[in-house]
């Protein structure tokens, strides 16, 4: 869990996302499903904090990230070139226990942590985005034994509509669901009458429990995304 220096091996634009491979031999063997890392791709202090990124995939010596540019930090990450240094702390967050068969529901960049989950089981994957440039990873999911259902809001790929609509429409079996995506999507999924877990997001300071910056409201009181999450039982979460 210490701060490690790695090297970018590749960083390719894939539709609206970037697929980044980082050589960082200390971390992959420790990483489990549901975990994330804190990443910093710059030495200066203007952007003071590292950024949380999900572990989207791993090889024996590398971590893979799927990145969507949001602000300055992710922009800097998206511009990184092979060979450049990058600093990573992790794996962080709670490793989850997965059943043998489960359903994945990913909206947009939310697919990132779900790709990694697909390594630990089989089942169905609902993948959605605004348009086809926000769909990523279907082959990987299929290779891992997941039947993939696609939805785009503009209909440019698969079902025309939101991935939640598609999910409720096509729901093949009542299996535990693991979802990641924008807040409104997770809110709608709270209505699922089965086990449902969601990857939440909150602004983070440290990612390791020392700053109390990542508070999440749950029925059981304030929890911390970085130590109690990032995966929560969605029925316990209080969105407001």
């Amino acid at each position: 869990m210490r701060l490690r220096e790695g090297r970018v091996k590749r960083n390719e634009k894939k539709g609206n996302f970037y697929w980044m491979e980082v050589e960082i031999p200390e971390i992959p063997s420790l990483a489990g499903p549901g975990q994330f890392v804190m990443v910093r791709g710059w030495e200066g202090y203007e952007l003071f904090l590292p950024r949380p990124l999900s572990i989207a995939w791993s090889s024996s010596t590398c971590l893979f990230f799927l990145i969507r540019v949001k602000g300055r930090g992710t922009e800097l990450l998206s511009r990184m070139k092979p060979g450049e240094k990058i600093w990573i702390t992790g794996p962080l967050g709670r490793r989850i226990e997965l059943p043998e068969k489960f359903i994945l529901v990913g909206g947009g960049i939310g697919i990132a942590p779900l790709l990694f989950l697909s390594r630990w089981g089989k089942g169905y994957a609902f993948v959605g985005g605004k348009n086809k440039d926000e769909i990523f990873g279907t082959e990987l999911l299929e290779k891992n034994g997941f039947e993939v259902f696609l939805a785009t809001e503009d209909g440019s790929l698969g079902y025309k509509g939101t991935v939640v609509d598609l999910f409720f429409k096509k729901l093949p079996e009542r299996l535990p669901v693991y979802a990641c995506g924008p807040r409104p999507m997770l809110e709608k999924l709270q209505g699922y009458d089965g086990e449902i877990y969601g990857f939440l997001e909150e602004r983070m300071g440290c990612g390791m429990g020392i700053c109390k910056g990542c508070a999440i409201r749950t029925k059981g009181g304030i929890k911390h995304l970085c130590t109690d999450g990032p995966v929560f039982n969605l029925k316990e979460v209080v969105f407001d």
Partner: protein
Amino acid sequence: MIDLSVKIGELELKTPIVLASGTCGYGIELKGITDFGAVGAITIKGVSLTPKEGNPPPRIFETPCGVLNRIGLENPGIEKVLELMPEMRKPGVPLIANLHAETVDDFKKLAALCMDFDAIELNLSCPNVKEGGIVWGKDPSLAGRVTGEVRKVTKKTLIVKLTPNTDRLEDVALACEEAGADALSLVNTYQGMEIDLDTWEAWRGGLSGPAIRPLALFAVRRVYEKVKIPLIGMGGIKDENDAIKFFLAGASAIGLGSIMLRDPEAPRRVLSGIIKYLKERNLHGIKDIKGRLRWKD
């Protein structure tokens, strides 16, 4: 031979690097990450008599070279914190309890409960609720009173943590010294705010990190020129160069705050840098640089 130990009241620190409150949890979380051999003392996250939920999210923002936080002093209450004592002891480093309360009485009760800590630090950046809600550390007489009252109930090393959000910083510092504080710790965060450009939502918060270093350094110096008790200087320290500036300004020890969020291995890095700086100049310890700046204006 370089001697890096410092004395803060009765407390013997093996290194002059203190982990600041709120940015190192209870130390426990940093097990296996931070090299505690480089740490002189751990100041735990501020604790109150009863549990506090803290603020609803978002709680932390990034600003240019800075961090703006509004954690809201979340903590499980002193009882629960005391239960962590065996775990907190594991790093083998002196432990400072950072306390906050809304009344003098609560401060006293808290202090009395901190027998197992090595020192007590009063966070005067929170408001005194009984007396009009003015922040303790903005008023010399309030600050002096709470320090004096707590002094009566504990023999532990008593540190007072000052807020820089006052014109009367030096008077507050003097009042605390006179009331029996063994040391002062400064600065806490600077009041600022952030606005979301899409939603127009706005939040108040406390600014820390490199952005505040020039201000914090000046605050430490002004207090150093007034009081005799040792100072734990902090505010934006990210590396040994920053640390040395605080020593030159008059700090006996320095606090690492926000940098811990970014680099939990900062204590060793900063300590090595300090040693290198001293060696290169044939200096033997912090005492050879403490307060030694030369004003050019």
